[in-house]
Amino acid sequence: MIDSDVEMIGAKNLPNAVGRLLGPADPAHPVPGRRAGEEARDSTYRGAPPAGEPGGHGFEGWRGAEAPGRMTTSAGIPTERQPLHVLLIENDPADAELVQAELRRAGFEIVADVVQEFREFEAKLDDESYDMVLADYNLPGWNGLEALAGLRQRGHDVPFILVSGALGEEVAVECVKQGAWDYVLKDRLGRLPLAVRRALDEKRWIAGRSRAEREIRRLNEELERRVAERTAQLEAANRDLKLEIAERERAQAEQERLLRQAEAIEARFRGLLESAPDPIVIMNPGGRIVLVNRRTEDVFGYQRDELLGKPVERLVPERLRTRYREELSQYWSRPHKRLLGSSGAELFAQRRDGSEFAVEIGLSPLESQAETLAISIIHDVTRRKQSEEALRLEKEFSENLINSSFEGILAFDRQYRYTLWNPGMERMSGLDKSQVLGQSALEVFPFLGDSGGQLLSSVLEGKSATIRDRPYRAGGSDRDRYFEGSLSPMQGRQGEIVGGLAIIRDITERHAVEAMKDEFISVVSHELRTPLTSIRGALGLLAGDRLAHAPQASRRMLEIAVANTDRLVRLINDILDLERMASGRVTMAKRSCDAGELMIQATELMRPMAETAGVTLSVKPQTVELWADPDRILQTLTNLLSNAIKFSPPSSTVRLDAAPENDEIIFRVEDQGRGIPPDKLESIFGRFQQVDASDSRKGGTGLGLAICRSIVRQHGGRIWVESALGQGSQFFFTLPLRHETARPAADQTHG
């Protein structure tokens, strides 16, 4: 351990020149001696602290607190007890020995490596660690200054002391400039131990100081880091604060804007609420009424005060409250806009007087400061329900009408495509609507025939048309049928014509009846005009005075007139008779009578005619009780006998007989005449259906068999004929035997 007192002494002995040179030359390596004794006069040093020091205060403070003696405890510095490892650069072995001896004499324990060559010097520096380098200046091929440079080059800060012979002052100064710690002249070698000790002390001091400096630097850096950190924190905080302030300002502006908007909306909303056409009820989640509008009062008949704070169920009929509560709780479980009562089960509201009305309720959430309320807008749908119902009924009615109508109903659009085809049309046309809808009315079932296009287009121009007695063909049929009907345009919403509608009915039956009627009239007309022609002709000639001198012709004309007048009377009687029976205006005056008697009566009546014709009349009367109109049965029998006689050749026989069979009696009139062709067996019972038109010459009216048939039918019997051409005919008719139950007397006397 080096005594601090010794150091002080050493410092005092430092040559002035070196002390001056060292101070300002390298402040990082101040000479320790200055601190104790010379710092007061070196103002430069005090005012300008070494580079790297943050400020003078820390240094000053540290220096004042640290006692110089404490530096001797620094680690890494050899102590007196450890040998001093010295590199000695000396080419003169004697001098090398002198130097070592001098140091040992002064008490240093040394281990010295002596080198002479620069290369050797470098190798030693690389291999070993030295406490001190002592170097001669003048060496063979190099010098102490180069050694110093080599040392610095390797970064060694080991103390370097020149031990030299005569050395000029300039060289000495240069050496010190280059970093030599001290120099000792060989001829004053006695100063060497002192220089070595001082160098060691200085080395120790520097080591201590640099540790302190490192500590100061660390502290300083730490301080700076913390300051920087804090500064950064503060800056960040500042930034955040600024942002927050800006945000708050913006938010506040927004809030103010919203508030103003809300106020405006609220004002408007209040107006809207009060002027709304529907009751509006605002309620809280507890189902209590928070607000109602004026319309609520009007519709429900409550004063506002009677509703506020009350359960909203007050406005719902008792029977629906449970359901309503469920609906509401469903709503509150997820409040969003919804419409109650619009589908499914109907919803009703109840007025104060208990009356109910159908409603739809629009529910929607309303955010308020405290809680979410619900706005319910209650819309009275009574009228709508009524009109919907009316519409539904009307629709149903027209559908029924269309579907059940016996008439064919069809519609077509502007392209003549069928758009409606009811079951009536299906029946008439034999076409299913699936085969027809969408098809052109000109192609599928062109019911209007060739002029269809024209007629349809005139309907589309807005004209209605009536169709009478028009032929058509049902699908797959080759027979004409007939229809009548009407065509009318159909209008759209704007009054534009969107298509046409046709209602048609099949009149085939009626058409046939009409045709028959026409034919009948034509035939009757002909039958009446034929005798009239003869009468008119005969009388005309008589009246014309041309036959005055022709009495024979005149007589003949009179006979013709008389005969044809009789024929005309018979004809008219028969026609009227038949028509009265056909129309049901004549009832049979039925009573109990005997079939046999009627047969004999009829035969007697016809006997003169038979005799005239030379025909034998044979009768086998059958005594059977009948319930019949005897006059009519007699008429039937004489008609049949008359026909038989007319068509019998002379000398032939006409037979009349009868036979009971089961519940009826069968009459038969048999002749041996020309017979009836098979195709006329049925038709001869029709009116004016003589087998031969010339038959009328036989005095017949052509209505006899028709009258017979009518009479027989009215007695519940049947009439028919069996015949073989050329062999004669057998006319049969039946009458039921069983008595009918007693009839009112009035009926019997009738007719």
């Binding site: 009239i521 007309s525 034929t530 022609t533 008119r536 000639l541």
Partner: protein
């Protein structure tokens, strides 16, 4: 007396008789009669005729059919035919007129004017005093 010769075909005996008498006494024409289509066609071929009066409604073969046969027969097709008919409805008359006959005389007719009607239809001059 006029020497014209006519044929009447009608199945009604009395009408044939009246027509024959009427035309003979009023116009002095010769009238041949036939009671059926078959008989009438035979008569029409048998001797030259100035006109034929033809009933429309006859059994077996009716008037129009007879007319068609007359028109097809070279011997008879030049003879003018007048229909006599009790079918006097408008459509009946139209149908007959369409066949191309010289005229249609409805029944009943005025026997005193029958000859005049025929002459008029055929463009004949009737002699004075007839």
């Amino acid at each position: 007396m006029d020497s014209r010769r006519l044929l009447i075909i009608d199945d009604e005996d009395d009408i044939r008789e009246v027509v024959k008498l009427a035309l003979e006494t009023t116009a002095g024409w010769t009238v041949v009669t036939a009671a059926s289509a078959v008989e009438g066609l035979r008569s029409a071929e048998a001797a030259p005729l100035d006109a034929i009066l033809l009933d429309v409604s006859m059994p077996e073969v009716d008037g129009p059919s007879v007319f068609e046969k007359l028109c097809r027969n070279p011997l008879t097709r030049r003879v003018p035919v007048l229909f006599l008919t009790a079918k006097v409805q408008a459509n009946d008359r139209r149908r007959l007129a369409a066949l191309g006959a010289a005229g249609v005389i409805p029944k009943p007719f005025d026997p005193m004017r029958l000859a005049a009607e025929i002459a008029e239809a055929l463009g004949w001059e009737l002699e004075e005093g007839c």
